[in-house]
């Protein structure tokens, strides 16, 4: 019934943090919004050779639109 069945605690904490950031006064909100941005980029390595750089958010977007 609760969010625990759907989200991890990490996701829950990010959602509440985003809600708090969006409720700040204008001058604080702009700086705070930047803090909410997270990005992960990874590279698969095999026998000493690095593969292509994959941006995690782009990969997830491509997967969900497939």
């Amino acid at each position: 019934m609760s969010w625990r069945n759907i989200f991890t605690y990490n996701k829950f904490a990010q959602i509440t943090a985003r809600a708090v950031r969006q409720s700040l006064k204008e001058e604080h909100r702009v700086a705070a919004e930047k803090r909410g941005l997270t990005a992960v980029r990874y590279q698969q390595w095999e026998s000493g050779q690095g593969g292509a750089h994959v941006l995690l958010s782009e990969e997830l977007a491509a997967k969900s639109s497939k």
């Binding site: 989200f7 904490a13 700040l24 006064k25 604080h28 705070a32």
Partner: protein
């Protein structure tokens, strides 16, 4: 022999049962607060009188010599009472840990003093979140909106007082 000492110390004052106090430690009876965010430390081992925290299990006040405990925090107001005055800070949720040596650590992701919030923005956000929560999106979207709406309601409640 030891039972006699325990008896007399109990009679002398209300003790913290877990702590074994030596004679020279009477000075350090203040609660030391470390209130940190990922990007900023609001308090670092600051001596305070009392801290009120919004735990998941209910609101609690932490004083010096509190029993060691770990509490998950819900989105709400942390009130820090020092000798010079008190501050109310709204937190997005996290954890509060009381350590055995009179140290309180509060770790949250986002926090700001109540003065930094805009009641107008909260009202608009709450209306939008409630609309999504009762609309017809996916279960995930609705739950996400429900979580946000709870935070905005807590904020409104805190700002209204």
């Amino acid at each position: 022999m030891s039972s006699l000492r325990i008896l007399s110390s109990v009679a002398r004052r209300a003790p913290s049962v877990l702590g074994r106090r030596g004679y020279a430690e009477a000075v350090n009876d203040k609660l030391r607060l470390s209130f940190v965010l990922p990007h900023k430390a609001l308090f670092t081992a600051q001596e305070v009188v009392q801290v009120n925290i919004p735990a998941e299990s209910g609101d609690m006040g932490i004083l010096a010599n509190h029993v060691p405990s770990i509490e998950a925090l819900r989105p709400g107001v942390v009130e820090v009472i020092e000798q010079t005055g008190s501050q109310k800070i709204f937190v997005s949720g996290g954890f509060a840990t009381v350590h055995p040596n009179n140290k309180l650590t509060i770790n949250v992701i986002e926090a700001a003093p109540l003065e930094d919030f805009s009641a107008e923005a909260v009202r608009a956000n709450l209306a939008e979140a409630s609309k999504i929560a009762s609309g017809n999106g996916t279960e995930e979207e609705k739950t996400e909106a429900r979580i946000e709406a709870d935070v905005y309601e807590a904020l409104q409640h805190a700002l209204a007082k």
